[in-house]
Amino acid sequence: MKSQVENQALIEGAAAVGEQLAGKYMTFKLANEEYGLEILKVREIIGLMDITRVPCTQEFMSGVINLRGKVIPVIDLRLKFGMERCQVTDQTVIIVVQYSLHGRNMTMGLLVDQVLEVLSIEAAHIEPPPEFGSSTLRSDFILGIGKAEKRVIFLLDIGRILNAEEAGAVAQAAVAS
């Protein structure tokens, strides 16, 4: 009986997550994995351009670009997620996202392998993020998992991917001359 109640609660919780997350997502590819970004946070998609490396920053920080007069940082999402550095192809793009973090407006570029489509995901097709346990990599930036035609899409919480403290943390090795 008890476990049934628990199961019921879990299912209800999952339904709540689904309700919350249902909506349109822009999906993109990193290696063979598919990810989704809330469409309202995506400002534009631009082709790969010259990225100016910023010294003494973490590896996943690709550098900064000039977005029509504004300097914005670009993050290599593959490196951020602990994958191998991507090989630049003609599909490689920068997704410019805009969101607000602690009251500050952040504009940032995300370097991804390929942009796929804009997908409407219903509540029923969204599940809460799985528990990986503490031993694996951080995964709190995954809001939930969407399913569409047998595909699995990781829905990202863009605000958690990068916070200023983390970005500001300096790679020590670069300095030791």
């Binding site: 010294p55 003494c56 000039n66 300097v71 504009t107 500001g168």
Partner: protein
């Protein structure tokens, strides 16, 4: 309180002389007795020469009256007393900002009376003042239209507390700024209106009927006066005060004193001296009327047995106004007096002096136009509009984009090689217009620090008074421009630092005298551009930081260990720790240990830095170094491997192509450059910044000698590409602090170039030296240290 005694005595004297009758010996005796009292009170304290002179004149006139008691001598004495009264009022006003201060039973007034900052503040009248007046006018207009809006709604729907508070704020703001600008007429009108509104606010009587009309009148008159002030300043004419201010002030004052029923019909119960004062009168007649109202008001306040602070202050201001209004007529009075009393003609100008020196707008404009206006015509008050900062930012951003696109168009090979002279002409015109536009855009966000500095000078004076210390504030470099958001943000830290300097740094006058310093302490506030930064320094000549006390307290608070030996800099910077204070007691000025924490946090937020230099017994200097967030700098574009960086030209001393013989190496690691006998540390930019593919042989590259914080360092780069002006941009949220890079800039090809943080690199050298002295010899923590820059 002595200042008040003299003033009250003179007021009593003034009313006595009005009542005096030459045929009544008793009244003459009364005048004589009061005069003796005033003279005695005046002797006990320092008064301005003008008061002393006026007092002498009065005594002479009184002696004449004793010899020959007739109506004529009585009248001349009355005139002498009038002059005395004005001199005393002026003197009083110079010494206390408002009467409330000196009536507040405090003892600070006496020590404050010696602070000469007042005089310095009043006499400094130049283009800045005109700018301030311009600002005041636009603010005032805005406030008045808001007030009108509120008044309309009050008339329709009745007065709520929100409405009254809204009105109150409008007049309060006007009063504050008018007081600052020493437009006493406007100040008094705003003040009395405010007092009356205050009574309404405290529900002593409703804001309706006649009182509402009065506030309407007040806004109307105020608007007209502001208009007149604008005309007066623009056409370089005297700012003549409208006589109806006085009557309005009187009516307002009456309205706030009497418990008058608003239903009784507007204006009925309120005395309306306007009916007499309104008509154009000869100067003498005006003086009479005004003096009458002034002395009426004065005697009111003097005889008021239940002193209501607000109304007292009101009448003081009112009499001030009266004397100001009468100023043009006073010269007649003074010369009359001089001839009547048989004094020599020399004295007349001396007596008139206080009135002439009275800080009227006329004087302000006269001086202002001398410096600001080169055309010889009127001084134009700059019209300003308020624009949403976001829109300005957006505009500046768009201009930035335009500049980049323009560079791309001009640089496009198809166009660049065009033979057509017409196309080339158009292009160069486009280039010029774009750059002008960029210049204008940049300037839109820049403000001189003078506004903040003047506020600080004013505050320093007030704090000095409170602390019972004599402080002179010396300002320099007020014209240094910085980003407007930073001008706003710098205000808070400056307040705390100046308070600290005065409260903790500068010794009390008796101590200073003992140790052979001038009694008057000095606080120097200066701003300048230095190597791509804005540097603001606050220096006092006080006792300096007490390092032992700081160490003791830091150990007690567990900030450091008792066994730690810290270099001087680090001891000094302990005072920035939150909650840190060595003050034995908390005063209302400082001592809670909050201020310096705020200072450092605000400055950190601006990506600035603050350092302290302190010499025991000689003073402390705070140096704030701030970046120019949105400014243009001259930069040298250098190549380093495949990357390009911008070095601020101001930080570059020279660049040389080193010969192999100039290079010195120690321990295979520490490279140095022998520059004409000077040994400079040599850093390789590629290693410092992790760039790849750079030239490794120094003799094939180029060494740029940079200087920061007084230290020089050689920086090895591949080559210098170009010298260009760049717009400093932030690296974008999310990148955080990066050592050795102070910002980014868009280069002419549209790519982003990073601006080298020279200070950070120089600090690295200092750090390295420090570490090697400490025996660690490693750079492991350099990143963390530089990150705090």
């Amino acid at each position: 309180m002595d200042g008040c005694r003299v003033r009250l005595g003179v007021e009593e004297l003034a009313s006595a002389i009005v009542a005096a009758d030459p045929s009544d010996p008793e009244s003459i005796v009364l005048v004589r007795r009061l005069l003796t009292d005033v003279a005695a009170a005046a002797k006990e304290q320092e008064l301005t020469t003008s008061v002393t002179e006026a007092l002498e004149g009065t005594l002479t006139a009184a002696r004449l009256l004793e010899q020959n008691a007739d109506a004529e001598t009585c009248a001349s004495l009355a005139k002498a007393i009038e002059v005395l009264q004005k001199a005393v009022t002026l003197c009083h006003r110079e010494r206390a900002v408002s009467c409330n201060v000196c009536r507040g039973e405090n003892t600070a007034t006496d020590s404050a009376a010696k602070v000469p900052a007042t005089v310095a503040a009043t006499k400094e009248r130049d283009a800045d003042t005109i700018a301030l007046i311009g600002e005041f006018l636009s603010e005032g207009d805005e406030g008045l239209s808001r007030a009108d809006q509120i008044l309309m709604s009050v008339e329709k729907d009745g007065a709520g507390s929100d409405a009254i508070n809204g009105l109150f704020r409008v007049f309060h703001t006007i009063k504050g700024v008018a007081g600052f600008l020493e437009l006493f007429e406007i100040q008094s009108l705003a003040h009395t209106t405010e007092s009356m509104l205050n009574c309404c606010r405290e529900s002593l009587f409703p804001l309706s009927g006649g009182r509402l009309d009065l506030v309407f009148d007040s806004t109307a008159v105020m608007r007209r006066i502001l208009g007149e002030l604008r005309v007066a300043v623009e056409s370089s004419k005297e700012f003549a005060t409208a006589e109806d201010i006085v009557s309005l002030v009187t009516r307002l004052q009456a309205a706030s004193e009497t418990a008058w029923d608003g239903a009784g019909g507007p204006g009925q119960a309120i005395p309306d001296p306007r009916s007499t004062a309104r008509h154009p009168l000869s100067p003498d007649a005006t003086t009479d009327v005004l003096t009458e109202s002034a002395s009426d008001l004065a005697s009111d306040s003097a005889s008021d047995s239940a002193p209501d602070l607000a109304s007292d202050a009101t009448s003081d201001v009112a009499s001030d106004v009266a004397s100001d209004v009468a100023s043009d007529a006073t010269s007649d009075v003074a010369s009359d007096l001089a001839s009547d009393t048989g004094a020599d003609a020399q004295r007349a100008p001396a007596i008139v002096q206080p009135v002439k020196e009275s800080p009227t707008v006329g004087a302000a404009r006269a001086q202002g136009s001398a410096t600001a206006d080169e055309n010889g015509g009127g001084t134009k008050i700059r019209a300003t509009i308020k624009v949403d900062l976001e829109r300005v930012d957006r505009l500046v951003e768009m201009i930035g984009e335009l500049v980049v696109v323009e560079a791309m168009v001009v640089g496009a090979p198809e166009i660049a090689h065009s033979a057509s002279a017409r196309v080339r002409n158009c292009l160069s015109q486009l280039e010029k217009v774009t750059h002008d536009l960029q210049d204008v855009g940049m300037r839109m966000r820049m403000l001189p620090v003078s506004g903040v500095f003047q506020k600080m000078a004013r505050m320093a004076r007030d704090v000095g008074r409170k602390a019972g210390k004599q402080v002179a504030v010396v300002l320099s470099g007020e014209q240094t421009e910085m980003d407007r958001s930073m001008v706003e943000q710098i205000s808070d830290p400056l307040v705390h630092m100046i308070r600290n300097s005065i409260d903790h740094g500068i010794e009390p006058p008796d101590v200073r005298r003992k140790i052979g310093k001038p009694e008057e302490g000095k606080v120097r506030l200066s701003a300048s551009h230095e190597g791509g930064h804005v540097v603001i320094e606050i220096a006092d000549d006080g006792r300096g930081l007490n390092r032992e006390a700081i160490l003791k307290k830091a150990i007690a608070q567990g900030l450091i260990k008792a066994t730690d030996t810290l270099p001087e800099d680090e001891i000094n910077s302990l005072i920035f720790a939150p909650g840190f204070s060595t003050a034995e007691k908390v005063t209302d000025i400082s001592g809670r240990g909050v201020g310096m924490d705020v200072v450092r946090r605000n400055i950190d937020a601006m990506r600035g830095r603050v350092t302290i230099k302190s010499v025991p017994g000689q003073g402390t200097t705070f140096k704030i170094t701030l970046p120019l967030t949105l400014a243009i700098i001259d930069g040298m574009l250098v190549a380093c491997g495949s990357e390009r960086y911008i070095i601020p030209t101001l930080s570059i001393i020279e660049s040389i192509q080193p010969e192999a013989a100039m290079l010195v190496t120690q321990g295979e690691r520490n490279e140095m450059l022998n520059m004409r006998g000077n040994i400079l540390p040599l850093l390789r930019m590629d290693r410092l910044l992790g760039a790849k593919g750079a030239i490794q042989d120094p003799s094939k590259g180029l060494v740029v000698i940079i200087e920061g914080s007084g230290r020089r360092v050689g920086l090895l780069v591949d080559e210098v590409i170009a010298q260009q002006q760049v717009v400093i941009k932030s690296m974008g949220e999310g990148v955080g602090e990066v050592p050795f890079v102070s910002g980014a800039a868009i280069l002419s090809d549209g790519r982003v170039g990073l601006i080298v943080n020279v200070e950070g690199i120089v600090a690295l050298i200092a750090e390295r030296r420090h570490r090697s002295f400490a025996g660690e010899g490693s750079l492991a923590s350099v990143g963390a240290v530089s990150g705090t820059n």
